[in-house]
């Protein structure tokens, strides 16, 4: 019997009382305090109090950087469906965050990967990109091992 796969929807949001972290939805005046949303099929434990969010950026040469962000989780709520069958998520987690700024220290994370999965598994599209792209030096091109089902 195989272990059921989990698929968590994790929302990081600012506390109601926070002045920062609020923005409007694109094209409207409606406000949201959602900072990040993660989609997790890894099976890892849900976030814990004290977890600090990270932020990222990319340079012109394609090098990615990340840094510790200015938000820290200080309350975690987990919501489980009554019947986790036929639904997108097996768990919804809300992480309430407080603003706790730090000095930005950017750490290089290398260049992004391009593989057949960058094209949704379309081998033809991947091969065409490899043959015609003029900016391949901004990426790390990876061939997926033969044993991996597409």
């Amino acid at each position: 019997m195989t272990k059921p796969k989990t698929h968590k929807y994790i929302i990081y949001r600012a506390h109601w009382s926070e002045d920062k972290g609020w923005r409007t939805f694109s094209g409207s005046r409606s406000l949201t305090g959602i900072l990040q949303e993660h989609f997790d099929s890894s099976g890892r434990p849900i976030p814990e109090v004290g977890e600090r969010l990270t932020e990222g950026k990319k340079d012109e040469d394609g090098t990615h950087y990340s840094r510790w962000g200015d938000w820290v989780v200080d309350r975690v709520e987990s919501y489980l469906p009554d019947l986790p069958v036929g639904q997108e998520f097996t768990e919804v987690v809300i992480c309430w965050c407080k603003y706790s700024p730090v000095e930005p220290v950017w750490v290089p994370q290398g260049k992004s990967i391009v593989s057949v999965e960058s094209f949704g598994g379309d081998v033809e599209a991947f091969e065409e990109w490899k043959a015609t792209a003029t900016d391949k030096d901004r990426y790390r091109v990876v061939e997926i091992p033969e044993g991996v089902k597409r």
Binding site: K5, H7, Q36, E37, H38, F39, D40, S41, S42, G43, R44, R52, T54, G56, K58, H64, S66, R67, W68, P101, V102, E103, V105, V107, P108, Q109, G110, K111, S112, I113, V114, S115, E117, S118, F119, G120, G121, A125, W129, A133, D135, Y139, V142, I144, P145, G147, V148, K149
Partner: protein, 68 residues
């Protein structure tokens, strides 16, 4: 303000992709955690970066599923 310990240089694994859906497909297929999708509308083909938590390598082998 006291800074936390430095981030490791494998804090994130980024896969560039032609569309958002490819990010979700990778997350589900390989059991990764998708942190965010960064958009680059001016990019010629690979218009999004799928940012995954930690080290997210492709496996050497995957078992066939019940759908095969």
């Amino acid at each position: 303000m006291t800074n936390p310990l430095p981030l490791p240089n494998d804090d994130e694994t980024i896969h560039s992709a032609a569309d958002r859906e490819s990010c979700y497909k990778m997350e589900r297929k390989y059991g990764w955690r998708l942190k965010r999708i960064d958009e680059y509308p001016d990019a010629p083909i690979l218009k999004v970066d799928c940012v995954f938590y930690g080290d997210a390598p492709f496996p050497d082998y995957m078992e066939k599923t019940d759908n095969d």
